[in-house]
């Protein structure tokens, strides 16, 4: 294989011309997603710890379980997101009469996930800085019976100054690195599905922009 990581990040067109010459193989994309899943699991550990801290007084001994669940969920979700992105691009490209297998889409999405791993690492570093400063509200057993109280506690957690700052920073980071991934995916989908550059840009750009708009919507709290 004559491909290189710098080409993937800086010159994806060249990267995919070389990478997709060979027969489909998901080993390297799978390893990339696995690495991404590990980094996501680390983030999940931090967020799970906050949730566990919130419920610790009401559910003694459940803190570890909550953290483990969060880690597993983040790990598994990375693989699911991989498949979902590939499926979306596959379906969109069919509109433009794209050919090529679903596995090719998976391969492309897997390679294109590298910038998001970098973004996730930056987010982990930001989490190490911000999350210890978050004042975690504690839910009592009685509060757990009251959905309004749980909602208030979650709101209080999310509106904590440190948490708010972290949420905004991580959102901006994830969007920036998602766009970087989208840039890679466009070149990959063009070649994987044998469609034009314009069609590939629409296939990838449209769902990505919609996702970003949704994230901005959430970030703005509208």
């Amino acid at each position: 294989m004559k491909t290189s990581l710098p080409d993937l990040l800086i010159n994806p067109n060249k990267f995919f011309q070389q990478a997709l010459e060979d027969k489909e193989q998901l080993r390297y994309p799978g390893l990339i997603i696995l690495l991404g899943a590990v980094v996501a699991a680390i983030s999940g550990y931090f967020m799970g710890s906050l949730t566990a801290g919130m419920m610790e007084s009401a559910m003694q001994g459940m803190g570890s379980l909550i953290v483990i669940m969060a880690v597993i969920a983040a790990f598994v979700m990375t693989f699911l997101v991989w498949i979902v992105w590939a499926g979306v691009f596959y379906l969109f490209s069919r509109i433009f009469k794209g050919s090529g297998s679903f596995n090719r889409c998976l391969e492309v999405v897997g390679y294109g996930y590298v910038p998001q791993i970098i973004g996730a690492l930056v987010t982990v570093i930001a989490a190490l800085e911000y999350l210890p400063r978050v004042a975690v509200p504690h839910l009592t057993s009685a509060a757990l019976q009251n959905p309004q109280m749980i909602q208030d506690a979650t709101t209080a957690l999310m509106h904590d100054p440190a948490m708010l700052e972290f949420t905004q920073i991580s959102a901006v980071i994830s969007i920036v690195f998602l766009l970087w991934s989208a840039n890679i995916w466009i070149f990959g989908i063009k070649q994987a599905r044998n469609i034009s550059m314009r069609d590939a840009a629409i296939c990838v750009g449209l769902p990505v922009i919609l996702l970003i708009l949704f994230q901005v919507y959430k970030l703005a709290g509208v």
Binding site: D152, A156, V176, N183, V216, L219, V222
Partner: protein, 385 residues
């Protein structure tokens, strides 16, 4: 003749049997006996309680300037005053213008009233001398009355109690001792005071301090001697804790609770709503709170009546939402008086930051997306050409 001789012998024999002091009643001796009189009678105590013992001292004076008299027998007799010391049965000579005292010990079981026991003295050369003197039996005890005590007793607070000891009797009492006791946990000072003699109609004031650690009843016992007889009068003084109407009364108000980064700040004012100064007013949090810097406890200092001072305490509430805040102060005696007031720590910290529209992040995202879309738009145009 024989009968006359027999009567003379009998008479001589009888006279010989009387002894060596044979009475010779003459007109001169009768006149001399008329000058013998009881010059003084003293009872100790001056007035008896029923059941008391005492002494009677009778002074007999021979008023003859140049003739002695001989007293054969002296006694003291009454149905209500029993003689416990016996009579004077031996003859004694009282010289001209001399006085001789006769002392008798007596015991009375009589009820209250005035009595007139009889002293009798038989003279060798004349008839007996009789004297009746008045003596009182009075069961009136000393009067112990509470002069002043605090409106209310407070635990561990020293207060002064004043009592009056008065003698309404007709005679003086002696060895008057005021003895107060209250059981364990009550400090009394002095617990015993010696008053000494108390004249009839006189009174004296006794003060003692009491520092009660629990509610009790003080027993004030006034012991005294009436003659050589011990008597006692008791007064019970209940010590119950009631709020001191004049004490300092610091009250917390205007309380605000705020939690930042896991540390709860409670601020407020303390106003002295009492009538005396509250010293060393201190505010702190109690368990389950864990006091945290910078204000683990807050010392306001002295607060005069109607004065107020602000405070701030910081603590970590943990999982608790109800935290007791302790307010303590020292009264004028240095006793520490504490009170607690619960404050409710909000379950969730209130957001202190404006959570309005996040302009900067949204602008940054829009800018990045615009660059991305614009860049691709330009790229596609060039790519097409």
């Amino acid at each position: 003749m024989k009968i006359l001789t027999f009567l003379i012998l009998i008479t001589i024999t009888l006279l010989a049997g009387i002894g060596g002091t044979t009475a010779y009643v003459t007109p001169e001796s009768i006149v001399a006996a008329g000058n013998v009189y009881v010059s003084n009678v003293t009872y100790d105590p001056g007035a008896f309680f029923t059941g008391d013992t005492g002494t009677v001292t009778v002074a007999v004076t021979n008023g003859n300037a140049n003739q002695s008299i001989v007293a054969n027998h002296a006694t003291f007799d009454d149905n209500d005053f029993q003689l416990t010391s016996g009579t004077y049965d031996s003859s004694s000579n009282i010289g001209p213008l001399q006085t001789r005292t006769y002392i008798f010990s007596v015991l009375t079981d009589a009820t209250e009233g005035s009595y007139y026991p009889t002293f009798s003295l038989s003279l060798r050369d004349a008839d007996s001398l009789f004297y009746k003197g008045m003596v009182r039996v009075d069961n009136t005890p000393l009067v112990v009355s509470l002069l002043s005590k605090p409106d209310s007793f407070t635990q561990a607070k020293k207060d002064t109690i004043s009592v009056q000891v008065a003698n309404p009797r007709k005679n003086e009492v002696k060895n008057v001792i005021a003895d107060v006791s209250g059981g364990d946990g009550v400090d009394l000072l002095p617990s015993t005071q010696y008053i000494g003699r108390l004249a009839p109609g006189a009174s004296t004031q006794v003060n003692f301090s009491v520092t009660p650690n629990h509610e009790t009843t003080l027993n004030l016992s006034v012991k005294y001697d009436n003659g050589d007889n011990h008597h006692c009068t008791n007064l019970q003084i209940p010590v119950t804790f009631t709020p001191d109407k004049k004490r300092a009364n610091p009250v917390m108000s205007n309380i605000a609770v705020k939690t930042e980064s896991g540390v709860t700040h409670v601020t407020g004012d303390v106003t002295n709503a009492g009538l005396t100064v509250a010293n060393a007013v201190t505010v702190t949090s109690l368990a389950p709170a864990v006091p945290q810097d910078p204000y683990k406890s807050y010392v306001i200092g002295a607060l005069k009546p109607d004065d107020f001072g602000s405070f701030e305490v910081t603590f970590s509430a943990g999982n608790s939402t109800n935290i007791p805040i302790q307010l303590s102060f020292r009264d004028t005696d240095g006793n520490v008086i504490s009170s607690t007031q619960n404050v409710t720590v909000p379950l969730f910290p209130a957001s202190t930051q404006n959570t309005g529209f996040p302009v900067l992040p949204v602008v940054a995202v829009v800018l990045v997306v615009a660059i991305f879309v614009g860049g691709w738009f330009v790229y596609l145009k060039r790519y097409k050409q």
